[in-house]
């Protein structure tokens, strides 16, 4: 008993030393970089804005992970593919509208049409996923739906590949969002502004939905305790489907916002953002909606800023190749100091 306790403390000590060391390394690196002064303030600013834009996309996907986890305690690894289907739908809708000329004659309407179709398709994919892949396994051990999720993810990926081929497809240009705007000393491209605003709007809408509507209250009740919620007359199945549908809608929106920034779609594109968004959800505390949004933003900004800020001062060659290392180190750091994530519920750990 006693020996075990000492070992436990040693492990803890080691983890704290590791965490402290990483923090000190990053802080000293930032100091060196800033003293060197090679990168201009305007560049730091555009890095932060790019990080926020990317982070809001991560946040939208992360919300889908966290909502489903909050209710079913399962990790829906196919969620990245729901996002990918949204992006593909947006690609086809945008190309069709572009061919029809609507993108030129009425770009605002065209944008909202594309947004609506891709959100709808992603929602349908998410609902089908729940109905076909997860519901039959509702009572199974937790490992079983996890494996199913990976299978479903591969299925969705390679279905897209079968339909649309394995090449990269470029998006038609939205001339609507060309140009830059400057607010005071800030200057950002219209695309980034649209992405950030749309993401923030959707997250606010979700927050209001969860906290102010009857369905939202029912979702919270199911997340607290499924059985009691069922006894209170809540249709648990319907709430679960609703949760998947909302996650799908957000992923669809993330899909079109992502393609707005990066202009191309690929059948494999859901994988990395999916992993990143999952990381963001864990970072913020999985199961917590605000945590997912926060985690996404932090991850996005750290990814953009981190390599240049922490590493370039040390003279590390090509620091930006290590941006994923930095992103995941942040995850490790957060989990060392706060094992349930930044805003995670204690009882979940």
């Amino acid at each position: 008993m006693r020996g075990r306790r000492i070992r436990f403390n040693l492990v803890n000590l080691f983890l704290w030393l590791l965490g402290g060391g990483l923090l000190a390394f990053a802080a000293f690196g930032s100091f060196l970089t800033l003293v060197e002064g090679r990168i201009q303030p305007s560049q730091w600013q555009s890095l932060v804005i790019a990080g926020i834009a990317l982070g809001s996309v991560y946040a939208l996907i992360a919300l889908g992970y966290t909502l489903v986890y909050g209710i079913l305690f399962m990790i829906n690894f196919a969620h990245g593919e729901v996002f990918m289907w949204g992006a593909f739908t947006a690609f086809f809708a945008a190309t069709a509208l572009n061919d029809a000329g609507l993108m030129v004659s009425n770009p605002v309407l065209a944008f909202f049409l594309v947004l609506a179709t891709s959100m709808l398709v992603s929602m349908l994919v998410a609902i089908m996923l729940e109905r076909i892949a997860y519901r039959p396994l509702r009572g199974a051990p937790r490992l079983v739906p996890l494996i199913t999720a990976i299978g479903a993810s591969l299925f969705l990926q390679y279905t897209a590949r079968g339909f649309y081929g394995s090449g990269v497809r470029a998006y038609p240009d939205y001339t609507l969002f060309d140009g830059t705007i400057s607010i005071g000393f800030l200057s950002l491209s219209v695309k980034q502004a649209v992405v950030i605003l749309a993401a923030v709007g959707l997250m606010l809408a979700l927050y209001v939905f969860i906290n102010r509507t009857r369905t939202g209250r029912a979702m919270r009740a199911v997340s607290e305790d499924k059985d009691v919620a069922a006894m209170m007359g809540i249709n648990v199945d319907r709430i679960i489907v609703t949760t998947f549908a909302i996650g799908g809608l957000l992923a669809g929106a993330a899909g079109i916002l992502y393609t707005l920034i990066f202009n191309q779609v690929l059948f494999f594109m859901g994988f990395l953002p999916g992993i990143k968004a999952f990381t963001a959800a864990v970072l913020g505390g999985i199961g917590n909606v605000i945590g997912a949004a926060l985690g996404g933003l932090i991850l996005g900004v750290v990814e953009q800023l981190g390599p240049n800020l922490f590493l370039s001062g040390y003279g590390v060659p090509s620091p930006n190749q290590l941006k994923d290392v930095i992103a995941f180190s942040v995850l490790v750091l957060v989990l060392i100091f706060r094992p349930s994530g930044l805003l995670g519920r204690k009882e979940n750990t």
């Binding site: 990168i39 555009s46 790019a50 090449g167 202009n263 191309q264 594109m269 060659p317």
Partner: protein, 426 residues
């Protein structure tokens, strides 16, 4: 105790079953091979002796058997045009020369995935094909490195039409059965450095590679050549990862030194994104962009959109002398591929690779009692002895490390969504 006995009993039974299975397998596979190798040994004294003398044995083809040529080209993913283009080149060559050494050619198409894993998988699949005569591939250098190793260990020729990484034919790292008809990037990187210095007159440059063998080595050659060509200086040598989509961090870091030229000899997906994002990076407004043959495909222009305009790309010079290319090859290419024009730039190299391989096979092959024997080492020696071969891409002569190309590099500029060859002047 009894429990343990039972377990160990089961273990013994399991092991016995396993052993039985293995010996069963061994028996069944050794029988036919013995059956195959026996008759020639008894029939033709000379032939069998040659085959026995050859370290890797012979390819044996009974009368009427097809001769199998493998390909390991990238057929899926963002870089599929690179592989398909080479495949069409080989197929055109095959249409004009459907038989090698009296045997009809049958292709075995494998996908190299433009990655180390893909190259390994493709090479293993081809090695398991009995009597495979040779392989055309790979498309990407990163796939070529493991594929060359695997195929060379079995004595199978691998001839690449588009691998350009210097390490593949460097004396220390060259695999014995590897050769290529594509240029070596020590030439392409130097040519690009010369172009940037002499034609564009720029003196500062930054490079981005994606960690693949091709990009890493080509960027390094450029970075080594550029300072020596015109007192130029390299401001940054950055790297990204394959599959990355956001390059703001890299580009801002590079923009801090505002280089006049940004060279990113990488592949289609990342190359298109870097092109777009570099145009939107404020510190790179006046920076000229340049890439290499990895993105010299209409797919890249389609993916990069209008941002592609004004970019300089190096690659093999397709202004071939002779009428064959325009009059016969291109129409045949259109027939085979269904494309109106070539979708990448290494089809002619693949055409030459097929024909050189065919010539080497015919030089090494001999017939005995209706069976064709091709000793593998003799095939390799015949290929490496290729000298003054008149192909589409020029006059090809192989050196001892497998560099066969008659390397001519040209630079194109993207103008209004099309590649326009601008250097060297014809």
């Amino acid at each position: 105790m009894q429990k343990y006995m039972r377990w160990s009993g089961m273990l013994v039974v399991l092991m016995l079953i396993l052993a039985a299975c293995q010996s069963g397998d061994g028996g069944s596979s050794s029988e036919p091979s013995a059956g195959e190798s026996d008759p020639p040994a008894s029939q033709g004294g000379g032939g069998a002796a040659d085959c026995d003398a050859d370290e890797f044995g012979c390819i044996e083809l009974a009368e009427g058997d097809p001769i199998v040529i493998g390909t390991a080209l990238v057929l899926t993913g963002a870089n599929e045009t690179l592989g398909l283009d080479s495949q069409y080149g080989a197929q055109v060559a095959n249409e004009l020369r459907p038989e090698i050494a009296g045997h009809e050619v049958e292709f075995n198409f494998q996908d190299d995935g433009c990655s180390t894993e893909g190259g390994t998988a493709a090479a293993r699949a081809l090695v398991s094909e009995e009597n495979i005569a040779g392989v055309i591939g790979t498309s990407c250098s990163s796939a070529g490195i493991p594929a060359a190793e695997i195929l060379s260990a079995e004595g199978i020729m691998l001839v690449s039409a588009s691998n350009t990484a210097p390490s593949l034919t460097a004396p220390d790292t060259h695999e014995a059965f590897y050769a290529r008809t594509a240029h070596n990037d020590s030439i392409q990187g130097a040519a690009m450095a010369q172009f940037v210095c002499e034609v564009l007159g720029l003196t500062t440059a930054a490079t981005i590679d994606d960690g693949s063998a091709y990009a890493d080595q080509l960027a390094a050659v450029f970075a080594a050549e550029f300072p020596s060509q015109c007192d130029g200086s390299i401001t940054a040598e950055e790297a990204v990862t394959v599959g990355q989509t956001d390059f703001t961090g890299v580009l801002e870091n590079i923009a801090a030194d505002s280089p006049e030229f940004l060279y990113f000899p990488i592949f289609v997906a990342e190359g298109a994104l870097i092109t777009q994002q570099a145009r939107e990076t404020s510190g790179l407004d006046d920076t000229a962009l340049g890439g290499a043959d990895g993105i010299l495909t209409p797919d890249w222009i389609a993916a990069a959109g209008s941002a592609a305009n004004g970019t300089y790309l190096s690659g093999p010079d397709l202004a071939f002398s002779g009428d064959f290319y325009a009059d016969e090859f291109l129409p045949a290419y259109t027939d085979v591929s269904g494309e109106s024009e070539p979708i990448s730039v290494f089809h002619a190299h693949a055409f030459d690779a097929y024909n050189m391989l065919a010539d080497a096979i015919e030089a090494a092959a001999f017939t005995d009692g209706g069976t064709t024997y091709i000793p593998r080492s003799a095939l390799r020696d015949a290929f490496f002895a290729t000298s003054g071969y008149e192909g589409i891409t020029g006059t090809l002569t192989c050196d001892e490390n497998g560099d066969c190309a008659d390397a001519k590099i040209s630079v194109s500029e993207v103008q209004d969504g099309d590649f326009v060859r601008i250097w060297p002047e014809e």
